[in-house]
């Protein structure tokens, strides 16, 4: 869902924006259409990459700003989209270097899993997502990014390579290792969940 904006807010923003003469590589209508097509996917990518929903909010704005400032031409929609994700990856990496702290992937709270509020019968799914979040926290940022792009976002190896700045040939091996690592972590988590369930019974 989009955050609530009153009509007067929108009118005020439009009036102020109309006074500005700063030109980007893209006009407003094109940007807004592109944003509407990509924002949710990018936000989810950033939130899983960083493990923090508030941080993903900030990085989302920063990513689109850098994207707008980049004076580039794009061959296709896919190329433009991949460039945006690459910028977002770099923004997340820069942020990580700046704070110099390991990201704490804490998706087991309600704020990070807003679906729980609207779907009270999703306890099993929520438990699996919590297991996933904890397992992802044990991966390196590049492994998280790679797995998310490959299996949640549906990117091809070539697109992953373009987004993460890797060679296409290395993606297959790196993805294999990351997947094996996550599968091992998920297997352990599932076992612990089953044991906890038995103890609970």
């Amino acid at each position: 869902m989009m955050r609530d904006l009153t009509l007067s807010d929108v009118e005020q923003l439009q009036a102020q924006a109309g006074e500005l003469d700063e030109a980007f590589q893209m006009d407003e209508d094109t940007f807004r259409a592109f944003y509407d097509r990509t924002a949710r996917a990018l936000w989810l990518y950033l939130s899983r990459l960083t493990g923090s929903a508030p941080l993903a909010d900030d990085l989302l704005q920063e990513s689109y700003y850098r994207f707008l400032r980049a004076a580039r031409t794009y061959e296709s929609e896919a190329h433009r989209r991949n460039s945006l994700f690459r910028i977002a990856t770099n923004v997340a990496r820069d942020n990580r270097r700046r704070v110099r702290a390991a990201p704490s992937v804490s998706l087991d709270n309600e704020e990070a899993q807003p679906g729980l509020r609207t779907d009270p019968h999703a306890a099993d799914r929520a438990a699996r997502r919590t297991d996933l979040a904890r397992a992802m926290a044990h991966l390196k940022p590049r492994e998280r990014a790679m797995l998310w792009l490959a299996y949640a976002h549906g990117s091809s190896h070539r697109e992953i390579a373009e987004t993460l700045g890797l060679t296409a040939g290395s993606v297959k091996l790196l993805l294999f290792r990351a997947r094996r690592k996550l599968a091992g972590l998920l297997g352990g988590a599932a076992l612990r969940t089953r044991r906890a369930g038995r103890v609970g019974l």
Binding site: E22, F24, A39, L60, Q61, A133, F176
Partner: protein, 167 residues
């Protein structure tokens, strides 16, 4: 040598991502995944990530596109203003230094004349008369010069303030 891919991996991935795994896919594929470590990991990881993705998609809260556009415009404008202000600030600093240096030089040049001017007023300040007697008569400088120096020293801060202020 460890194999890192399987020819049926795309098939397993498709089943996991499309939500047809395990009930609505071929028995043959299920049997393969049960025995293939690579495809087993693909299904397990892909299902978990896909489920997380789909569950979060609707609830993902992103700002409206107009707000993001407006913030980007504002930031670009602020950065452009900052970039444009850098050379102006430098020139203002140089100008201020010149004004202060000039004022000091003028005051230094005018100081003997000031003392001479003070010495010419014994009727008003009798106490200064004795002190003025020690000063050589350097009254050859034009009389407007020290006045101009004083005015410059007084007005320079006002001029700098008016130059640097935005409004």
């Amino acid at each position: 040598m460890i194999s890192i891919d399987c020819p049926r991996e795309p098939e397993a991935l498709e089943a996991a991502c499309a939500g047809t795994w395990p009930d609505r896919c071929d028995e043959d594929l299920r049997a393969h995944v049960a025995t293939c470590a690579i495809c087993g990991e693909v299904v397990e990881v892909a299902r978990a990530l896909r489920e997380d993705h789909d569950g979060s998609w609707r609830a993902a809260s992103v700002p409206a596109s107009g707000v993001v556009w407006w913030r980007a415009q504002m930031r670009a404008r602020a950065e452009a203003a900052r970039a444009a202000a850098k050379p102006i600030t430098f020139v203002q600093g140089v100008a201020a230094a010149c004004v202060v240096g000039g004022a000091i030089a003028l005051a230094g040049a005018a100081f003997p004349w000031i003392r001479a001017w003070v010495a010419s007023l014994p009727a008003v300040f009798p106490a200064l008369d004795a002190a003025a007697a020690d000063v050589p008569a350097l009254v050859s400088l034009p009389r407007w010069l020290p006045l101009a120096a004083i005015v410059a020293v007084l007005l320079a801060p006002v001029a700098i303030y008016l130059a640097v202020t935005d409004d």
